[in-house]
Amino acid sequence: MKTETVREQNVSASSADPVSEPEKNGREAGRARSGLYALYRKEMADHLHSGRFLIVLALILLTSYASLYGAVSSLSDAVASDSDYIFLKLFTLSGSTIPSFTTFIALLGPFVGLTLGFDAINSERSEGTLNRLISQPIYRDAVINGKFLAGATIILVMVLSMGLFIGAVGILKTGIPPTAEEVGRAAVFLLFTAVYICFWLSLSILFSVLCRHAATSAMLGIGLWIFFALFMSLVASIVAGALYPLNDAATVGQVLDNYECQTMINRLSPYYLYSEAVSTIMDPSVRTTNLVLPQQLSGAITGYLSLGQSVLLVWPHLTGLLALTAVMFAGSYIGFMRREVRSR
């Protein structure tokens, strides 16, 4: 009975309102966009002015420069054995004691993502600003969308700047301009890096939705980061060893099973996915990401893969990383929308 009354009122109210429904919806969408844009701009400004972000940026630039220095110092030795794709070597070569740029980014990239998102929502809750924010004429999801979009923009700009920095300094040092394919490979590498760091951003936002305190969400993020970077391969090897034990009498089939099991488990880790994809993209001589048997190699001509073929090889890695990012963001979105905003 009550529902009917409400519906009647709805009908009478909308028929009395001279503004047409599409116009209302358009106005609604306009309002939502302006709210999202205001939030996005505020978040961007917050990131760019925060000391925390500037420290992380300085750290990343410092490591970029260090890795570039290492790459340039060992470039002449590397070129002596293989003089192709010199521009890409700036990203992948490591010095005697300094890891390569790609290794640095695989390790430190998550730190950037975590820094940008670990207190995105819980700090708003604890500071009491979320209350007011969601009582404004904006859609509630604009809050979380705005935060993610601002973080992702910062990541994109940062990654692009790093790539340009390495490229520019590398060209100045070597005096050799990159080929179009090298530029393409570097662009795909930067895209992978941005997606990889965005995964960590969405994961940290998820923790900030789930955890009440920023410290807890930061610890969870750092814990996972260390686990994926250092311990995942250990876990994979233990699990594979338990499932497919290798002893002196192990057959080729058992060795293959063990290896495949390890790879499968490792590929659950975004760190491994990223590292594998990047090493494939940045090294055209990599022809497969799986185990190759001697009989498969017989008759094969040694050579480089084209950019398109390399991208085909790492396509599953890209979709995997994107899917992981989307799942984490969906989790934070649902968590944020469903959770009631209470007083501090």
Partner: protein
């Protein structure tokens, strides 16, 4: 001189068509909300019409939860809130656009100045850029914030922060304004200015203020609603509500040394030290008979110098203390009553007090 424009002038400019068939009625229809084992709001129904509405109640009465549901921050478990007949959930952004809200606990971004903050709030509310500066200037002047315009909010005093919060709630000249404890932290002068501002603002708008400072709404509220334990226990104009305690408020003048006994036996709501050393006591009692009986009992003998109780004209504060006897008891035990001492140094000063014992003499729900 800043002025408050009529609501219709603002809305006409920006939302053609929204003015049609406006009744400006917020209907709260049997809404309830629980938190774990606590029933925070229990089957509350009321219809808010233009004017200032005072929402009174002790701490934990459910005022904030009710306001958060009206603000659309919380969903009621049951029941519905409608604005001009439409459920607020279906109005979405359009509802919040005509709506201003000042939460009880109000956080600020530490890096924001007053200017940054108000501009950000205006952007979120979708205010056109050409109106934003003018409106912010008006509000800053109205709320005496012009001098701190470029100061960081975290460096402002509590009262100033509260005024910044009030300014953001008024930015879009809302037709429905919800304010949760707006006067906490304001000095008396600011409170009076704020009340006057609100009175003027509420001419053709719905304004709901929750407070437990009764004087904040006593003079400006068109109607009041009183909540207790999540339920709405009384609703009406100040005059109508005050009638509920008609004949229950008494006054007498007693010697100062007898005050502890009075405080113990009676439900004292106000004391005033007279110049002759005696104390004027205002207290609540069910009836004339009960008041007389209590007076006799507490005096112990007819020859006592105390004067007989006479009925006093009730105020909203008396109703509040009648409805919330535990608060009176708490005040008496925790803040004002000093066992073993009975000093009233400032003759002529009013002070609210109470008696724990007095609670047994009344305080039933209206």
């Amino acid at each position: 001189m800043p002025c408050i424009r009529s609501r219709s002038s603002y809305v006409d400019e920006h939302e053609p068509g929204m003015e049609e068939n406006k009744k400006m009625e917020l209907q709260i229809d049997h809404i309830s909300k629980s938190f774990k084992d606590k029933r925070a709001v229990d089957d509350v129904s009321m219809t808010l019409t233009p004017g200032v509405w005072g929402l009174l109640g002790a701490n934990g009465a459910g005022k904030t939860t009710l306001m958060r549901m009206i603000a659309g921050i919380m969903e009621p478990e049951s029941g519905q809130i409608r604005y001009d007949g439409l459920p607020i959930g279906t109005l979405k952004g359009r509802y919040r656009e005509i709506f201003g809200y000042l939460p009880q606990e109000f956080g600020f971004y530490p890096e924001f100045t007053v200017k940054d903050y108000l501009e950000y709030a205006a952007a979120l509310k979708g205010l056109p850029a050409r109106d934003t500066k003018r409106r912010i200037r008006e509000l800053l002047e109205m709320l005496s914030l012009s001098d701190v315009y470029r100061k960081r909010i975290v460096r402002l005093s509590g009262g100033m922060k509260r005024r910044v919060g009030i300014a953001q709630a008024l930015l879009n000249e809302p037709e429905l304004l919800i304010m949760d404890e707006p006067t906490s932290g304001l000095d008396p002068g600011e409170r009076v200015r704020f009340r006057n501002l609100l009175s003027e603002f509420a001419k053709d708008r719905v304004v709901l203020i929750s407070t437990h400072i009764v004087s904040d709404v006593e003079y400006i509220a068109t109607r009041n609603a009183v909540m207790k334990d999540g339920r709405l226990i009384a609703e009406g104009t100040t005059e109508e509500l005050v009638k509920l305690v008609d004949g229950k408020v008494w006054q007498c003048v007693i010697p100062a040394e007898r005050l502890p006994e009075y405080e113990r036996r009676l439900r004292v709501v106000n004391l005033r030290n007279e110049a002759d050393g005696r104390v004027s006591v205002r207290y609540l009692a069910e009836s004339a008979k009960a008041a007389r009986k209590l007076y006799m009992e507490s005096d112990g003998a007819e020859e006592n110098a105390g004067a007989a109780p006479v009925p006093a004209s009730p105020r909203l504060e008396d109703l509040y203390l009648w409805l919330f006897p535990q608060d009176t008891a708490h005040d008496a035990a925790g803040t004002l009553r000093r066992p073993g001492t009975d000093r009233h140094p400032a003759a002529g000063h009013d002070r609210v007090s109470g008696s724990a014992r007095g609670a047994e003499n009344g305080g039933g729900n209206a």
